[in-house]
């Protein structure tokens, strides 16, 4: 017994000296040494795939010493549908349906990425109105995506209320998306050449009403969480990704901008009508979870600003270019990327002159964010690990594809 106690650090000893319990008297099994005498083992815990804080079907194996994470490994593939393989058997106008099921919360952006690739191969000139509609829908979708993230970020840190408020606003956005595209989630609205249908009558009033309400609501959202001391304590200084690490792990989007790197594809590589829009790109400084939170909150305000500009200045004209029923781009290879709500969604499209792609690679930003998480989590408490997962806003649909 005494041998095993050599390495124990004892706290609050009454006097200095050796800590030898001696031999217990007859009838006593072991000396009452207190909890200091207990050896702890490392525990391997499976977080997920059904854990509520893993935002989908992420399974994370964590090695724990008490509550501290020593090592973390992500296990993927629970949502692997082989989107890249299926794309080789779809017509070009049907690729959007696959993209909707990739990042299933921000479908419009994914559809845009693939439409841009086909348009560049076929040299299709997209009408100005179609480009404006795309921008407007993408920004509506961006707010809807960020609201879902905002709600779950609250849940991750133990706040129930914000989720309900976020869902209230998200519902209005989904109503708008449904009125325009016919679907709440799997839109298939953006097609090569433009968009599938023109805006329905009266939608501008609905969108304007939303923007008016949301400009107030977003301040409430921000105040409820970022004004909360407990929330601040849970996020500040947690999961710090400095600029160097962000670049090494290939992070894009809000996660990169929170680290202070000024790179937004909408500004740096303008596509659709973003070169005609006025908006600011929020940046963080330290790259901690709080910075990622603030960047996304500000992005929602900027998105609302862009939506207003679209509503006020929506040009007249066609909603789609004249494209053949069966698209047949010439043999070639292009790479297009768009600024999705989670970062850069890239499409590497290779064609052989047929009616479906020869190869379509779908680059999802969340896979790269996950690699950073594996690196970040060791050394932190498990509750902070949950905050890190939440703050990087991963989406398993585009990780597994």
């Amino acid at each position: 017994m005494s041998d095993a106690r050599d390495d124990i650090i004892t706290v609050g000893l009454l006097s200095e000296g050796t800590h030898d319990p001696g031999t217990p008297p007859a009838g006593i099994r072991r000396a009452p040494t207190g909890v200091d005498g207990l050896a702890t083992e490392h525990l391997i815990v499976n977080m997920g795939p059904q854990h509520p804080s893993t935002h989908g079907v992420l399974r994370m194996l964590v090695e724990l010493d008490g509550e501290e994470i020593l090592n973390a490994e992500v296990t993927l593939g629970y949502l692997h549908r082989g989107i890249e393989k299926l794309a080789e058997h779809r017509r070009f106008d049907a690729l959007g349906t696959l993209m909707d099921r990739g990042d299933y919360v921000s479908g419009i952006m994914g559809e845009t990425a693939v439409a841009l690739a086909v348009e560049r191969l076929m040299e299709i000139e997209v009408p100005r109105r179609a480009r404006w509609i795309r921008v407007m829908m993408a920004e509506i979708n961006r707010i809807a995506t960020h609201l879902l993230w905002y709600g779950t970020m609250g849940l991750d840190t133990g706040a129930m209320g914000p989720f309900l408020y976020a869902m209230r606003d998200r519902e209005s956005l989904l109503d708008i998306l449904e009125a325009v595209s016919g679907a709440r989630m799997m839109f298939n609205y953006v097609r090569p050449g433009g968009v599938v249908a023109d805006l329905p009558a009266g939608i501008d009033t609905k969108i304007r009403e939303f923007c008016d309400a949301f400009d107030t609501y977003v301040e409430e959202h921000d105040a409820i969480l970022s004004g909360n001391e407990i929330f601040q304590a849970r996020l500040k200084g947690i999961g710090v990704i400095d600029a160097e690490k962000a670049l090494a792990f290939g992070l894009t989007g809000p996660n990169l901008r929170a680290s202070g790197v000024d790179f937004d594809l909408r500004k740096k590589r303008p596509y659709d009508a973003y070169d005609e829009m006025e908006f600011d790109v929020p940046l963080g400084s330290t790259g901690d979870a709080m910075d990622r939170f603030s960047v996304r909150m500000e992005e929602m305000r900027q998105s609302s600003r862009i939506i207003r500009q679209c509503i006020e200045g929506m040009p007249e004209g066609e909603h789609t270019a004249k494209v053949p029923k069966v698209l047949k781009p010439p043999a070639g290879e292009v790479y297009t990327s768009v600024e999705s709500a989670r970062g850069e969604v890239g499409i590497h499209l290779v064609t052989d002159g047929g009616t479906s792609p020869y190869r379509m690679h779908y680059h999802g930003p969340s896979l790269y964010a996950l690699q950073a998480l594996e690196d970040l989590m060791p050394g932190h408490l498990i509750a902070d690990g949950v905050v890190m997962i939440g703050s990087t806003d991963i989406m398993l649909g585009e990780v597994d594809r």
Binding site: A248, G250, K268, V334, V350, Q371
Partner: protein, 150 residues
């Protein structure tokens, strides 16, 4: 933005890597031999291409073509590096040059049937053991008829 093909040529030649550099529809593409790929990536990294933003592979019908998409935030441009390897070849990991290669390399190796060397965790990423490399052209997808007749 597109970097100048000559710049890339000089950049790679400085590290003794022989490359064919062209500006095509994809962008500025440098083609190197498979054995030079890691040296070429190291050269890109040393010359200001801080980030590997995408890595993927393609079955061309004769071999596997690998594409690295590199971005320089300081120079605000993107360059592509391509190489061709044989089926079932062993590719060397670039993770200690670009940490972002970790998972995309596992994915590419798994889905195109390549072997991965020098990787800290060379496991399958998405599919379970026994599933063939799905992105190979000789692996068919299950047809509607086959599912009906099961």
């Amino acid at each position: 933005m597109l970097p100048d093909a000559n710049e890339i040529r000089t950049l790679l030649a400085g590290s003794g890597v022989a490359a064919e550099v062209d500006t095509v529809a994809l962008g500025t593409v440098a083609r190197v031999s498979a054995s030079d790929a890691i040296d070429a990536l190291a050269a890109f990294n040393a010359e200001g291409y801080e980030s590997l933003v995408d890595f993927d592979g393609m079955d061309t019908g004769e071999a596997i073509e690998l594409t690295w998409r590199l971005r320089s935030y300081s120079m605000d441009c993107e360059a592509y590096l391509k190489t061709t390897v044989a089926y079932d070849a062993e590719i060397h990991s670039a993770w200690n040059i670009y940490a972002s290669a970790l998972m995309p390399e596992r994915e590419t190796a798994e889905l195109l049937g390549l072997r991965l060397a020098g990787h800290p965790n060379p496991k399958r990423l998405f599919t379970t053991d026994g599933i063939p490399p799905l992105l190979r052209k000789d692996v068919p997808i299950r047809s509607v008829e086959e599912v009906k007749n099961r």
